[in-house]
Symmetry: C2
Subunit: 322 residues, 2 copies
């Protein structure tokens, strides 16, 4: 999930980049216009625009989404975290209709039960299977893709939905992870954390440094609701939390600081400008456990090409060991 420069760079390299609508759809039209320009997409083209849009369903306005999809016809729409599963049915139908059936509908889930439910109710074009290693928001209680992808695949097979492609998310940062996800039964992969260090992500220097500096991804990131609490973005459904790099706020909470005080200190740091990321700072860097594998800033196209090349080479080498 990104802004137009990163999303379009990924698409131009043969992937599919997504624009983050998140819970704020106000800048979506501007982002889509920007992407259209960067892709040199002809006004009268019958093909969809080669980017997707990601919506956080519980916090987004459906009529704004419908308008954006009708005007720009993105290649795919990615739906995540509804208040009720039935909201996904409405969103899928309305957005499919708005695109004249040209936009694929991808739905992100974090457990087997949800995968089976959305497969039956929404007939998605793909299911994004998010494991517990993923950065940003996800289910507080979940499995890594090592067991989640195969179990989802088997359950969908049993229920007659085995034709729906699975896209694995969570903890994949390089070609080894891509190859692993494919052997687990995924048709494709989605990466977020790896692209935090894409040149086109244009992160603030302090934020980018923190992503590159952080090693030992399991030890130095944490799943918590604290980041939402201090930011005041805690309207997420109860079963969600988010994974990010452990910082001063996390340390203070572990030592017993109450939420109000922690939030006050966050706002104070924010008001000072770049308040600092990492162990000593309070700025928030959402990232998955794969952050430890992200060690340099690279162009998005180079990242996409390397992922593809290394995944294939990895499969080849591993196969050759037998």
């Amino acid at each position: 999930m990104a802004q137009a420069p990163l999303a379009t760079a990924v698409s131009l390299a043969g992937g599919l980049g997504f624009l983050a609508a998140g819970t704020n759809t106000s800048s979506l039209t501007a982002s889509l216009s920007h992407a259209k320009k960067l892709l040199n997409h002809p006004e009268a083209s019958p093909s969809p625009l080669s980017v997707g849009i990601g919506f956080i369903v519980w916090g987004s306005d459906l009529s704004t989404a419908v308008q954006a999809v009708r005007s720009f016809v993105p290649a795919a729409i990615w739906l995540f975290s509804p208040r009720l599963t039935t909201d996904l049915v409405t969103w899928s139908e309305k957005l499919r209709e708005a695109s004249g059936g040209k936009s694929q509908v991808w739905i992100q889930i974090g457990n087997v039960a949800a995968a089976v439910e959305v497969a039956g109710l929404c007939k998605p074009n793909a299911i994004v299977v998010q494991g517990a290693d993923a950065g940003g928001h996800g289910l507080a209680r979940g499995a890594g893709i090592i067991s989640l992808v195969p179990e989802v695949a088997d359950a969908l097979d049993r229920e007659g939905h085995g034709h729906i492609p699975l896209l694995a998310a969570g903890g994949i940062s390089d070609g080894r992870g891509v190859a692993a996800a494919l052997t687990l039964g995924a048709s494709g992969v989605v990466l977020g954390t790896r692209f935090l260090a894409a040149k086109e992500a244009e992160m603030k220097p302090g934020h980018a440094e923190e992503v590159l500096r952080t090693s030992d991804g399991g030890l130095n990131t944490i799943r918590t609701t604290l980041f939402d609490v201090v930011r005041g973005t805690n309207r997420w459904p109860a079963e969600y939390d988010g994974r990010g790099i452990a910082n001063r706020s996390v340390e203070d909470e572990e030592k017993g600081m109450d939420s109000e005080e922690n939030r006050r200190l966050y706002e104070e740091a924010l008001a000072k400008g770049d308040g600092g990321w990492g162990k000593e700072g309070r700025m928030i860097a959402y990232a998955g456990t794969g952050v430890g594998l992200v060690r340099e800033i690279r162009g998005a196209a180079e990242i996409v090409e390397e992922l593809r090349r290394d995944a294939i080479a990895g499969l080849e080498q591993t196969r050759a060991r037998f």
Copy 2:
């Protein structure tokens, strides 16, 4: 980690089964004698006994371990969870010496820092890389093997320890998981949860049923210290908890029940005999997120052969997609 019938069945099928010494080494000599008999191991054999022994270092007595290793010379010794890393140095040296250098030393870690540290200090024959999906005890804060195995591999390479084989653990239940672990950079895999449903594990019927019944492994297992609290086994170092199937005790705790009351109810259920596993019960079933992929009781040899066959087939098929 198992008793002699399961451990030897795995070894006879071409794997390497481990006897669980755990924190109680009192029955270790009996277990080893039993294994030796089941393996028809000749008294005067110069080869080590084809089983390993797993020790929980913080809770085990080194002199008992030394005696057992000297008398039986197991193929491998698996060390886990010391109070201090320096304890691993002592244990590695003494047990290597006791076996006349014939027993391999495997050390289990759960993050990159520990892997680098033990590689330098203990020169282990293999490092077991335990991801957060693993059942039973492990680090409360960790990553799944999807990112942990590659990051450990890279860090060991950089520090000059790239020759040490990595064995991946956590969330692997079938050939897809095995294939994935190998593409991530592991030389081998270790499985616990899958063998809960081995015929030779001889579990109580209620326990076995619960393992087979449990689906959606990420949703229906949980990492918690509660199981240790109610069992009174809470002397584990502070950074550890354990993953098991969520049960009535977990539900009660989530509703606010205090530990004393929860423990009392556990003991009451225990005193009644088979107090019941699963959502309505209080008996404890440690299991990893891969438990949802475990759907039938099978012989250990059949499980080992299927894992090997499916892993190779999976690699072949995935490679063929490109």
